[in-house]
Symmetry: D2
Subunit: 316 residues, 4 copies
């Protein structure tokens, strides 16, 4: 079976290489050809466009940065869906919103092409070791049929439901990451403000019942104050929270904490922290600190002409 | 009737002078004697301590900066409540929290002294022109009996109920000011971000149905970017929102917006804006703006190794 | 000049009638013909579809319920933009989001049709009296040229800028209404919880510096507890806050209060208040009240086995 | 060494029994004598008041429900601090706020009595098995000297710093529990609203990187819908969030998420959920759901006379 792979970034190259290692024959496309070369050296065929790739592949993987890129690859002038082949399958591993994934499913089916939307969780290292998690949305039969391909790249293949459901589940995951990070940052700053040492706070909280496991991996960043390069840029996390908020609106769910987190990260972005790791929210909360001498409420009432009304109140 | 007046700040001196102008005989005390001199020149008697003042006055006014100062003047070593006189009355014009005012009422009554808690709204100019508003809490009979004294200093005397009720009503007023200012700032920044001119926004919004009247008085500050000296320091407004939040907790009321406003002003305080006028919340929201080149979500998925888990997820 | 009018609801019929009164010759279309009859009786021509209307009108007004209806009327199978006439103008008075309005401007221009997006503020009564406000977005020359038509229906014609700008300004207006209403409701509930009478609160707050003028018009509803039929359904207000939040995300603005308000209204919608007037947010906050006996923190520690960890903490 | 123990609730009896098992001689006091009987049967001495207990004990433990009870036991008419003995030590295990703990430290020292404030985490079962966690605040030398006593009752003795620091750290822990629970509830409701099964969500999220470990222990409650009797009543959790918010205010820290969580739990309390386990916040968010037919924004503009201004806007 010939497999097409579009999108050869840090994740995509490793994923494609793992398919290759399992003996699958590849045809590949990327915006810049350079990144394809190691795969070509191992026998992959280069295609000059998604359309050209479509003519040679039974299954097409996409691993792209954002919905616009996916839409362009699929439905653009040289999009692969413009040359649908009988029995062809498209598996989109990009992180997109649920409704976009459903829309792509409809577009694919209208052209006789099958569709699975399977966003991915995992690090560069996990991509290399084929230990990614796939959150699979699409028809059960397709999910079963193509599971062996996903197992070349990941070790946790979770079927989530129909089209868009993989994206939905990943969205909930990221909503949890974002709120947990911000709430932890608040607690840490509070604790330090009360005089507790940061080391004690880490010892007492991490590994305890109230701390999400990933927080431990942020300890080093917080201790060193080094938030770049980001594992997960704050800007992207904020985008995911926005996405969750929009989906909640559409579904009629209420998310006051998630929205509060979304706005807090936004303030941090405006303060120039968008490209840093999202754990920089701690630094944002900790650093911004009033430097002017504060009399902390012990002001002289004699200087308090606290009328914001410019005299209107009594003109009544 | 001899009247005692404790607390001769910008507001207090003007209030005391108005009592004097109406022919009342004054005995005064202040932390620093200097501020008392114009009143003394007009015939007021200086007292060396609140206690000394207590021995000469039928009615004692206090106009102090904060609850601690009030408590010290009343119950401290030289406090006036330590020398209660038969039929004596205490009228506290300081801005304090409702529970503190109720506590003072109890302390006064235990010593046979009557009590009214009447926080004040109004500017320095209004104090001078006897156009202050008094929010009166205490017994109806006391409120009626001493209304003529308040009318020497203000033109809007609002009876709010028992002890602490004046403080409660002023607290609600300030909660409205704080939320209205912050929500307006958000709308202004949104409008400008969408390309609407600030002038148009002011024209369309101020004077319209959705804008609290005091907002018009903030236009000049926002246009000039000049937030000092403050009419009403942001730090004090944030304290009032905190006070409202604490009172709401005690009363079992929910205030999600007010709490969100409280935290937004706190972030502005940490950013160094506490001593500025509270309208500086606009500037805080408008100025902090991401300066780094933003790819605004159009990032390369290839660089997205977005695993915040350090590999744990798949170790499962 | 022959004028087309699509969308003859409560507002649309009154607006069209005012155009007619000024001597303009009308051609009209509506989903149900019935509502067109009074206009037809006065000389208007009925068209069987937007497309049929397009062939007869120099200027086409649309006053429809939501973006989908606008898109269908313009670009649907029988859409009027499918039969563009030379020099034709489209004036959309529907309330839509800014980006939708910009999209319609592009679609119109691509077919040689001019476009103004002019959402409207005002009541049924104001529509009848030609006292509406128009928030105009589009090219200056078009805004000037067609101002006389708008003046047949309204007395406040505000030019806001290019396409979508009218929608932007109306969005800011509604963001202010929604936050002001919710913050006022919070203050009212707090005040009442502290023992202040509702009447006193209304007297002291409404007309004061901190209360948006429209709040006075909600007093009767709050006093009577009658929130239906709605002047402005809570559900729509929540939608407008959502729209503002999405626009803020796109523009990079932070709106923590607006988002908190959005979620509060959402909770009220889930509680069944969506179709009521948006002032029902007061009732939502006031009515939901813990009925079980509360020991308010004065609990017996002896019964407090407050370990949410199921024993994990100490297993460490 | 004779040990006094005041407060024999579910936790206190088990803690005292463990001291007894290690051979310590006890003198005990409780509001109701009945609960002391098992301890007395094993050799403990009953004291008729805290004061009577003070005369016989070198070390006094308190395990009481709230600060007021602690203050009464220590400084009330029959308070133990009224009869301080040379070299006496007071160890308060009650959950109190940091500033209260510091105040008690001052009161104790003024009478020549040592003080440790060591709030406890753990379940009834952990109390029985001597597996509690103690968060110790006070002088290092005291903490070292009395550690063996704490080790009779717990297996994790964490020195947090000076007086009040134990309370501070426990407060941060509970802030994390409260925010994590509410954010998880939001994610769960969102996921279910999007069509994901609850079972899948539990499987995918619990045990993953973004879920605090204690959440797994709430699964059964959520699946069964059974929130009583509470492990940790929602009302107490909300109190702890309030306490954190107040401490943050005093320390100048910003906590927008924590405050949003505080208000969400407050709304749930008003809806009658205060005595349920705090995981009922899920049920609160999930159950309240608009039951009226929703047209979800697809309303007829014709019925939209959305003027909340009562005509004022155009009167301008």
């Amino acid at each position: 079976m010939k497999i097409g792979f579009i999108g050869l970034g840090i994740m995509g190259t490793r994923m494609a290489a793992n398919l290759q290692k399992h003996g699958h024959s590849l045809v590949v496309f990327n915006r810049t050809r350079e990144k394809a070369e190691p795969l070509v050296a191992e026998g992959a065929t280069w295609a000059d466009s998604p359309a050209a790739l479509a003519l040679q592949a039974e299954v097409i993987f996409t691993m792209l940065a954002h919905p616009d890129a996916v839409e362009e690859a699929a439905l653009g002038e040289d999009g692969f869906l413009r040359y649908p082949q009988p029995g062809q399958m498209w598996i989109d591993c990009s992180t997109v919103n649920p409704s976009f994934s459903r829309k792509m499913a409809v577009e694919a089916k209208a052209r006789g092409v099958g569709f699975l939307g399977t966003p991915v969780t995992g690090s560069k290292g996990q991509a290399e070791l084929a230990k990614l998690t796939f959150w699979v949305g699409g028809e059960t039969s397709d999910a079963e049929r193509y599971r062996p391909l996903l197992e070349c790249m990941g070790n946790r293949i979770i079927y989530c439901g129909g089209p868009g459901m993989g994206a939905s589940l990943k969205m909930v995951m990221n909503q949890l990451l974002g709120t947990a990070m911000a709430a932890f940052a608040e607690g840490l700053v509070l604790g330090e403000s009360l005089g507790l040492s940061r080391e004690l706070l880490f010892e007492a909280i991490l590994g305890g019942p109230g701390a999400a496991p990933f927080l431990a991996s942020k300890r080093e960043r917080i201790e060193s104050g080094n938030y770049e390069p980001a594992d997960f840029p704050l800007r992207w996390l904020q985008k995911d929270l926005h996405l969750a908020a929009v989906s909640a609106y559409e579904a009629g769910a209420a998310m006051p904490l998630t929205n509060a987190a979304k706005e807090l990260y936004r303030l941090a972005i405006r303060d120039g922290r968008g490209s840093e790791d999202f754990s920089a929210i701690y630094d944002y909360l900790a650093r911004n600190q009033d430097v002017k001498p504060s009399n902390n409420g012990h002001h002289d009432q004699s200087d308090r002409s606290n009328d914001p009304t410019g005299g209107r109140l009594c003109a009544r």
